[in-house]
Symmetry: C5
Subunit: 376 residues, 5 copies
C-alpha cells in the first residue's frame, strides 16, 4: 500500500481545525496526483466508525450494534432486508472489509473516503452505488456525504460523522404495522433518499425567512449588515444548489435505470422524490434571483441616499458660502471703503443676503432638491 | 396514523397569520423529514370544505351542495359528466374518502394537501391527476393550488379556499344550448385549465400598466418610490413565471399523453390553451427584461443627477472659497499691511475678485458644466 | 351569443386612445376569463373592413373592391389564384362569413380578432393558417397582426388597419410577364411572408443608425438625453425581437410541414425567406449586446467625470480652506497677539500661504489629480 | 427588369462615403421590401470586376486575366481544376453570366450581391454554394464577403473588393511539386476556407495584445482612454464572433453533407479547419469574458479612487471648517467680548485649535481614512 | 519545405521573452495564413528534446534515455507496453521521425508543434491521438500541452518543456507488484490522463483558499488590493476552465469511442477520471460565481463607505458653515451696526449658535446619519 502525501501528513492537525471553519466548497486533495486509482485514505477529520445493523421483514425486526463483519452474516440470511449503517470513516481496513463483503469496486470504495463527491449513482451488476449529501448544521451551511450500496436484500450506508437524519425511517421500521416492513431493500434505499431530500425543506424554508427579513431591512433603510448578509445568503444558496441539483439527476437516473433492485412499486415513490427535488430546485433558483435582485435594489437605494446627502451638502454650501463671502468682504480693514460709513449699508446688506439665500432656496425647490429622495 | 411534527403544532396559530403576510414564495414544511410518504395533514390555514356537485349532459343538468360521499353515486350513473368541486381542505378524512372513491393514489392525495406544488400532470391508469395554480388577489401577488382528477365521466377538483374563478364555466354548463353540454369530462377539464390560464391575462395586463407607469416616473424624474416599486414588480414577475411556465408544460404533457380521457376534439382546444400559455410566458419574459432595464436606466439617471448636484457644489465652492480667502486676507489685523491704506486697493480688489469669479465661470462653461445634465 | 365583459365596455373609448399611446407590448384582455372558446369580439379600435379581391393566372388578372361574400365565388372558379384581402376588423359577422366560407376553425377566427398573437402557423386539413406581424410606424415602434389563410387556389388575408406593405407584391401580380402569374397560391403566401420579413430590414437598419449615433454621443460627452435614448432603443429591440424570432420559427415550420399547399419550388424560396429572418435575428441580437454595452460604457464614463468633478472640488477646498483659516486667525481681535505688531509678519504669512498652496498642488500633481480624467 | 428603389438611388453617393465609415454591423437594405426574389443590384460601393483564371493539374498550370466568359471554356476542359476569381461586384450582367454558366440559382446570385450575408453553405445538385467572410483591415474591424461555388472541376469565387488573402494558396498552386496539384476542386475549396479561418488568427492575437495592454493600464491607474478602448474592444469582439461562429457551422455542415464534390481525403483536412475555427471561437469567448471583467474591475477601481478623493476632501473640511469658525468667532467686533482682553486667550485658543485638529486626525486614523485606498 | 513568415522571423527573439510573460490566453500564430496544412515549425521557445523510453510488462521493465529512433525497435517487440516520452519540441526532424514511425497523420504532427491546442481526441485507424493540458506553475497560472499517441503496445507522449507531472505513474510502473504491469497501453494512457486531471486538484484547492481569504478581506474592510486580486482570480478561473472543460469532453469521447485500444476494464477507470473532471468543473463554476459575487459585494460595501464619508462631510459642513457665516456677519466693520454695542449680544449670539448646531445635530440624528454605516 502506498504512503500518503508527505506535506498532507504534516499539516493534518492544522487541517482538521481549518476544515471545520471552511466556508467555501472544496474538493479536498485526496492523495498525490497520479497515484494508483482505488487508493483509500481516511479523511483528516474522520471519526472512529460506529456500526449498527437493522434487519427486518414482515415477520420481525432486529437491531444491534456490531463490531466485526462476521456478525452480519446470519441476519443477511434470516431477514429479507438488512441495513448496515457505518457512521464515521476512521477505520480504513474495517470499511474496506465491509465493502469487499458486498462486492464493491475499489473505485467506489475510494469515493466513500473522498467525502467531497457530488451526488451520483453508479450502477454495478449486483448493486447500485449511490452518493447523496445531507445538510450539516453548523456556523456555515455545509453538507455531509452519505454513500449507499443497495443490493438484493441489503443496504449499506457510510456516513461521515456520527448522528444522522434517518431516525424517522428507523421508527417506521420498528413499527410492526408500517408498510416498509413488507417492502424490499430498494424501497429502503428510496426511504433514505426521500429523507435526504426532505431534510432540505426546512433549510430552504429558513432561507426564505432570511430573504424576507433582508427585504424588509433593505427597503426600510434599517440597513445594518445587509450587504454581508446578502453575500452570505448567496453563498449558502450556491452550496444548497450544488447539493440538490445532482440529487435530482441521480433520482432520475435510478428511474431510467432498468436495475431489478428497484421494483416497479418503488419507482412510483421515487418519482415522488424526484418531484420534491424539482420543487427544491425551483425554489432555490427563485431565491437566487430574489437575492440577486435584493443586492441591486439595495445598491440603488444606497445611491438614492447618497444623492440626498449630496443635496443637503450642496444646499448648505451654495447658500452660505456666498453669504460668508459677502460678510468677509465687509470685514476687510481697508481704510477707503465708503460703504462702511453709510448709514443703511448694514441693513441693506442683510436684505441682500436674505434675498440671495431665499433666491437660492427657490432655485433648489424648482430643481426638486428640497423634497427629499425616493420614498420606497 | 402519525402525529404531526411537534414544533409545527405549537407555532400553528402564529404561522396562520404569518402565512397570509408572506411575500416570498415558499414550500411549507409538510411534516417531519423522513416520515412515511402519503401522509395527509391539512394545511395550517385550511378552511372547512364546501362541496358542490354539478352533473350534466345533453339531456339536462343538476346542481347541488353535498355533504356526504354517498350522495354522489346516483349522479355518476345518471349523467355523462359529473363535476365534484371541493372548496377548502380542512377535513382530511372527508377528502381522503373522495379521493379513494375515485381511485386516487395516496401520493396524489398527499399532494392535494401540500398546497405549494408546482403545476404538473401525473397520468394514472384510470384517470389523470392535474395540479394548476390560479392567482389569488391580495396585498401581494400570490397563487392558490387547484388539484384536479379527470376520469371517465367525472371531474374532481380540490381548491384551497372558498370562492373560485370557474363561474363562467358554470354559467356555460347551465346554459342548455352551450356546446359544453355535448362534451365529455375531458372537455370540462380543458375548460377549467383554460379558465385558469385566462385568469392570468388581466394580471399580466396590469403588470404592463405598472411597467409603463414606472417608465414614465423614472424618465421624468418624478421618482418617488420607484426603486421599491421596481423591486416589487420584479418579485411579482418571478411569482407569475413560477406559476405559468409549468402550466404550459403540463398542457403540452396532456397533449403528448395518449390517454383516452382526452379525446381528439378536446386536444384541438388544448392546443389553443397551450398557445395562450405561450403568449403569457413570452410576455412575462419581455416584462422581466423591461423591468431589469428599468432599474439600470433609473440607476444611470440617478448618477447623472448626482453629477449635476456635484457640479453645482463644485462651481459654488470653486468660485467663492478663493474669494472668501481674499476677503479674509484683508480682514487681518496686522499693523503693517501697506495695501490697507492705499486709496484704490478696495476697488482694485473687487475688480480682481470679479475677474477671478468670471474666469472660473468661463472655465466651467468650457468644461460644459454649466449646461445642466442629461435631458432625457 | 355571449355579451362582452362589462367593465371592458364602459372603458372602451378610454382604451382606444390609450391603446394607441401604449409603449409596452401587451396582450389585450380578450374577454372574461373562462368564457367559451371561439368567441369573436372586434378589437376596441377596429376599423370598418375594406375588402379587395385580386384574382390572377397566366391568362389574366382581375382586381376589384367587394362588399358581399357572394361576389367572390366566380373568381374562385375562373382564376388559378384568388387573393382576398380584408383591411380592418370592425365587422365581426362579415369576417366570420368569409372565414366560414373557407372552412376556418372558430379558434382560428378568434385569433384573427385577438390582434396580439405571436407569429405562428397552424396546419389544418384543407389550408394553412398563418399569423405574421408587420412593423407599424408611429411614435413608438409597434407591430400589427396579419392573419393569412392559404388553401388550394386562394389566399385570404386579414389586416388590423387600412393600408399595408404589400403594394410591391400587387405590382408584380399586375405585371403580365412577372413569374408570379405562373405560380400557385402557396407562392403568393410566400411572397407575402417575404414582403413581411423584408419590411423589418429598413427598420433594423435605422436602429443601427441610432446605435452609431448614440455611441458617438456617449464617447464624445455630448451626452444629452443619451440614457433615455438608450432605454428606448433597448425597448424597441425587445419589440422587434418578439416579432422576428417566431417569424423565423413559423417559416421553418412551413418548410418542415408536408402540406401539399406549398410545392417544392416554393420551398426553395421559403428557405431564402428563412435565411433573411435568420440574418435579422442575428443582427437584432448583436444590437442588443451593443446597446447593453453602451449603457455600461456611458455609466463608467459618467463615473469618470464625477471623479474629475470631485478632484476639482477637493483641490480647491484643500488649498483654500486652510489658507482661509490662517487669514481668519490673524483677523481675530485679541488684544494680546504679538505677531500683529511685528514688522514682517504680513509678508511672512503671505509667503507661508504660498508655500502651503504650492505644496498642496505638488501633492495633488503627484497623485495625478491635475492631469484631467480619461481621454476616450 | 425592375428598377431600384427610388430614394436609395438618390442617396447612393452619400451612402458610399458613409458605408466606409460604418462601425456597427449592418444589413444593407437590398431593394424595396416585397420586390421579386432573385433581384441583383450591385452594392453601392462596388468596384469594377477584375477576373483571373487559374487552371491546374498534375501536368501543369496556367494563369491569366480574362475579360469575357467565353475565354474560360478551353481551360475547363483541359485542366482537372479551374479556379475563376472575380474581384469586385460592379458589373451585374457579367457576374450573372458567370453564375449562369455554372448553373447558379438566381437566389444564390442575389446573395453574391447582398454582401452582408452570414457565412453559410447551400448544397445544390451540381455544386456547393459557400459564403465566408474575411477580415478587412481598416480604421474599424470589418469583414468582407467571399462567395464560392464549388463544382466538379471548378471553383468560382466572388470577392467584394480587389486584393485578397489567397496569395499563399496561389503560390502553392504555382509550385509544381505541391500536393495541391494532385487534388480536385473540393480540396481547393478547402484550401480557400482554411486560408480564411487562418486569417483570423493574427487578428485575434492582436486583440489578446490589446486586452493585456488594457489590463496593465487599468490596474496601474495610467487610465487614459481605457473606457473608450474597452468599449471598442468589445465591439470588435462582437464583429469577430459574428464572422467566426457561423464559419465553424458551415465547415461542420460540409462535413455532414454527403456531397461527392468533397472527397474523403479532403474531409480529413476540413476536420482540421473545423478544429481551428473551434479554437478561434473558444478564444473569442474567453476574450469577451476578460473584456467584460475588465470594465467591472475598472469601474470598481474608479469607485475606490473616488472614495480616496472624498476622504481627502472630508479630512480637510472636517479639520479646518471648525477651526475657521473658531477664528471667525474672535474676529467679531462686539464691544463686550471679555475674552478678547484676557492675557492668554490667544495662546489658549491656539492650543484648543491644535487639540481639536489633532483629535480629528486621530478619529480619521481610527477610521482608517489616513492610510490611502486600495493598493492593487 | 516552406519558409516561415517573414515578420514572425524578425520578431522571434522578442516574442520569446514576451511569450513567457503573457498573462492572457493566446493562440500563437503558427505560420502565414493560407500556407500548406501539416507544416511543422518548432515553437519559438522550444527546448531541445530529451527522449526517454520505458518498456514494461508482467515479466519486467526497462528504462533508458534514447537519442535515435532505431533504439526503440527492440523494446516494441520484446515488451507488451512501450512508453516513449519526448520532452521539448526543439528538433522538428527528430519528432517527425518518431511521429511517422508510429503512423501519425501530418495534421496531428502539426498539432504537436502548435502548443496552444484545446484538449481533444482524434481517433485514427491504428491509434488515438489525444491532447491534454497540464498546469504549469509560474508567476501567472498557465498550462502546457501534452500530445499523446496511444496504439497497440505503445504510448508516445510529446511535452512542451522538460520536467513533468508523471513521476507517480513511473513509480507505479517501476514497482513490480503494481497492477499497471499487467495492463495494456490503453491503461497507461488512462493513467496519464488521470494524473493530468488530478494535477488540477491542488490548484483548484488553492483557488478556494484565495477566495476565502479575499472574502475575509472584503467583508472586514482590510481591503488592500482586493480589486486587483479578484480580477486576477477571475482570470485564473477562466484559464482553468478552458483547460478542464474540454478535458472532460475528451474523456467522454474516449468512452463513447469503440476503439479496441481502450479495453473494457480501462473504461471503468476512465469513467472515474471523467467523474473527477466533472467535480473539477463543478467547483470551478462555483468559484466563478463566488468571485463574481465577491466583486459585487465589495463594490456595494465601497458605496456604503462612501455614504459614510459623505455623511461626515455633510454634517461638518452643514453645522459649521452657517455658524461661520454668523461669526463673519459680526466681524464686519460697518460703522452702524447697533448689535455690536449691546451688552449681551455676544452671549446671545453664542447661544443662538449652540441652538443652531444642536438643532442641526438632532435633524441628522433623526435622519439616522449619526449611527455610522452598514455593520457587516
Amino acid at each position: 500500500m502506498r504512503e500518503r502525501h508527505h506535506e498532507a501528513m504534516a499539516g493534518e492537525h492544522m487541517n482538521m481545525t481549518k476544515q471545520i471553519k471552511r466556508r467555501i466548497p472544496r474538493i479536498r486533495m485526496r492523495h498525490a496526483p497520479g497515484t494508483q486509482p482505488g487508493l483509500m485514505v481516511a479523511p483528516a477529520e474522520a471519526m472512529a466508525p460506529k456500526i449498527s445493523l437493522l434487519a427486518y421483514g414482515p415477520q420481525g425486526m432486529e437491531e444491534l450494534k456490531i463490531e466485526r463483519i462476521e456478525e452480519i452474516e446470519p441476519f443477511l440470511k434470516s431477514h429479507p432486508v438488512t441495513w448496515i449503517n457505518v457512521e464515521g470513516l476512521g477505520d480504513v481496513d474495517l470499511i474496506r472489509a465491509f465493502g469487499e463483503r458486498f462486492g464493491m469496486h475499489k473505485l467506489a470504495l475510494e469515493d466513500v473516503f473522498n467525502t467531497h463527491q457530488r451526488p451520483k449513482i453508479e450502477p454495478y451488476d449486483e448493486h447500485l452505488f449511490i452518493i447523496v449529501r445531507i445538510p450539516r448544521h453548523g456556523e456555515h451551511l455545509d453538507t455531509e456525504q452519505i454513500s449507499t450500496v443497495v443490493g438484493k436484500g441489503f443496504v449499506l450506508t457510510f456516513q461521515e460523522t456520527h448522528g444522522d437524519c434517518f431516525d424517522p425511517v428507523r421508527k417506521r421500521i420498528r413499527n410492526p404495522s408500517s408498510p416498509i416492513r413488507e417492502r424490499n431493500a430498494g424501497y429502503l434505499a428510496y426511504a433514505l433518499i426521500d429523507a435526504t431530500v426532505d431534510n432540505y425543506f426546512p433549510l430552504t424554508e429558513s432561507i426564505g425567512d432570511r430573504i424576507e427579513d433582508l427585504e424588509e431591512r433593505v427597503l426600510t433603510e434599517s440597513r445594518n449588515g445587509a450587504v454581508g448578509d446578502i453575500h452570505r445568503l448567496k453563498r449558502d444558496l450556491i452550496v444548497l444548489r450544488r447539493a440538490v441539483w445532482p440529487t435530482r439527476d441521480l433520482v432520475s437516473a435510478i428511474l431510467r435505470d432498468e436495475s431489478p433492485i428497484i421494483d416497479k412499486l418503488t419507482r412510483v415513490y421515487l418519482r415522488d422524490a424526484a418531484d420534491h427535488a424539482t420543487q427544491l430546485i425551483d425554489l432555490i433558483e427563485t431565491y437566487r434571483e430574489l437575492s440577486g435582485g435584493l443586492l441591486d435594489t439595495y445598491f440603488t437605494l444606497l445611491s438614492n441616499r447618497m444623492n440626498d446627502i449630496m443635496k443637503v451638502l450642496t444646499i448648505f454650501a451654495a447658500i452660505f458660502i456666498p453669504l460668508t463671502f459677502m460678510a468677509g468682504l465687509y470685514g476687510m480693514n481697508f481704510e477707503h471703503m465708503p460703504e462702511l460709513a453709510w448709514r443703511y449699508s448694514y441693513p441693506a446688506l442683510l436684505l441682500a443676503m436674505a434675498v440671495a439665500g431665499v433666491g437660492m432656496l427657490l432655485v433648489f425647490r424648482h430643481k426638486g432638491w428640497l423634497g427629499g429622495g425616493d420614498r420606497h
